[in-house]
């Protein structure tokens, strides 16, 4: 029963990893930008939430009402003022720009908030749980994270496949030049995509901050988790990304069960094993 509980924890943790990954996947899909700063943007939104929670004395989940639009606005501005200038036929310049942004964010956060560990306090939500038969306790917070991940992915799918904006995203992803001939302003659309990505990032960031301690240096590891979830699931498929997150989460909790020090390592080993056996991931969509 202990094992079942561990696996269940891992599955639910996968929801958080899918949240890390969804925004990254969207950006890569729409504009072929590998956003190295993605993890640091997750951490940034946790800090933004920290400031809002402290300043206005709000529950972290309520603070999302402010964090999401703030980060979306930042995303649009970042895209229009920074990334759009680097995007072109060569994928290297935007990659380097995002790497620079990553360094910038980490050091700015360190300067402002110091390297101390922080936490977003969510009161009872942190400890609330319900009991399943067989003495398995399931936390409400992990369930909530998983449910939000499913909701975010469902929402993204609906947006991409059933709205005009989503159709425009797919057009630009297919062929940027021809998209302009349709009347699509690529620069604006990229801005919207980044705003959407950072909206998801802020949800992920707040959950990250409620679930565990964070400090300015943990961004790159979240980026790697996001990458791993995407690659395991197969590039371009959001439900695959959720599956990828779940596999990663289960591998980590199982690893941690053997020895707490093995948690991260077990995740990487599972990732490398899958990369070796099935390099295209489980549900590849890219041509």
């Amino acid at each position: 029963m202990d094992l079942v509980s561990t696996v269940l924890d891992g599955i639910l943790l996968g929801g958080l990893y899918a949240l890390f990954a969804a925004g990254l996947s969207l950006i890569f899909g729409v504009m072929r930008l590998v956003n190295i700063a993605h993890g640091d943007l997750i951490v940034l939104s946790a800090f933004v939430a920290l400031v809002i929670v402290g300043g206005l004395n709000l529950h972290p989940l309520v603070a999302l009402v402010l964090v999401v639009p703030l980060m979306a606005l930042l995303g649009y501005g970042l895209q229009r003022l920074v990334f759009n200038r680097a995007l072109g036929y060569d994928i290297l310049p935007p990659l380097l720009v995002s790497f620079g942004l990553s360094v910038f964010l980490q050091n700015s956060l360190l300067q402002i908030f110091s390297g101390d560990s922080r936490r977003l306090h969510a009161g009872n939500l942190e400890t609330w749980h319900f009991d399943l038969p067989g003495g398995i306790a399931v936390g409400v917070l992990p369930c909530l994270m998983f449910a939000v991940a499913v909701a975010v992915i469902t929402g993204l799918q609906l947006l991409l496949y059933h709205t005009e904006l989503g159709r425009a995203f797919r057009c630009v992803s297919d062929d940027q030049e021809t998209a302009q001939l349709m009347g699509i302003n690529n620069a604006h659309l990229f801005g919207l995509a980044m705003a959407l990505s950072l909206s998801i990032v802020s949800v992920a960031g707040v959950f990250l901050g409620i679930r565990a301690n964070f400090d300015p240096s943990i961004g790159p590891t979240r980026l790697i988790f996001a990458f791993e979830a995407i690659i395991i699931g197969g590039l371009g498929d959001l439900w695959g990304t959720l599956v990828g997150g779940v596999i990663l989460g289960v591998a980590q909790t199982l690893g941690a069960r053997i020895n707490p020090g093995y948690q991260i390592l077990a995740g990487h080993i599972a990732f490398l094993a899958i990369l070796t056996l099935r390099p295209q991931g489980f549900f590849p969509k890219t041509r």
Binding site: C171, T178, M182
Partner: protein, 234 residues
């Protein structure tokens, strides 16, 4: 109302340091069909791309409806009423046939064209509207590409080599439909490799060579020798 729908004056175009067009003077009147012929690399496609804003042009080099549009971004030019059927069709591969058509109306220009109207001229597309665009035959894909451009309700439609790689019977059908489209008040510029086809459907022809206009006139007034000379420069 100016008599010309589109005019270019000394239009030049560059790809980096390479100059592709050297001072093109072009005009087309409303309801006219003008063909542009010329060999590979003569600048035909570049000319169309300059008009649509995909290749940069000087502001005063292009007038549409009496307004200077040179250098405007492509997405604004569509909204003003210039749509293009690009060379090689360039359908969106992850979109269905119907989605490809619908995205053509993205600029929300008002006019006579709708999905229903496109399906009337290309009934085959209605049957296949749920198909992935790439699952269609070349001719059908070309119909989607033409339909997609029409969905923008253009005043001026630019067609870049729509006969490329298609069977003669399909080409005939496509041109028959283009003839019907022009009766709907759409002015047409076609770029063609097939000189006979170009001569047959157009009111006037321009022949480009090495980025310059080598010859211009009504098909009936041009001799075979003149065209050969303009085309090959011998």
């Amino acid at each position: 109302m100016p008599s010309n729908l589109l005019e270019t004056h000394g239009l030049a175009a560059f790809y980096g340091d390479f100059q592709a067009l050297f001072g093109i003077d072009f005009r087309i009147e409303p309801d006219e069909t003008v063909a542009i012929i010329g060999s590979n690399g003569s600048g035909k496609s570049t000319f169309l791309k300059s008009i649509t804003g995909l290749v940069r042009a000087e502001s005063k080099a292009i007038y549409f409806n009496g307004k200077a549009i040179g250098g405007d971004p492509a997405y604004r030019i569509v909204a003003q009423g210039i749509a293009m059927v690009p060379e090689g069709r360039r359908l969106f591969s992850s979109l269905s046939v119907e989605e490809n058509l619908s995205i053509g109306a993205y600029s929300k220009r008002q006019g006579p064209w709708s999905l229903e109207k496109v399906y009337t001229i290309f009934p085959m597309l209605k049957e296949k509207r749920k198909f992935a665009a790439m699952a269609l035959s070349g001719g059908q894909q070309q119909m989607v590409s033409i339909g997609r451009a029409l969905m923008a309700n253009p005043k001026l439609l630019l067609c870049d080599e729509i006969s490329l790689g298609l069977a003669p019977v399909i080409i005939k059908e496509l041109y028959a439909q283009l003839g019907r489209i022009t009766t709907n008040g759409t002015t047409l510029v076609i770029v063609e490799q097939d000189i006979r086809q170009a001569m047959a459907v157009s009111d006037r022809v321009y022949c480009l060579r090495e980025g310059r206009v080598a010859l211009e006139g009504r098909p009936s007034s041009l001799s075979r020798d003149q065209i050969t000379k303009a085309y090959f420069g011998v």
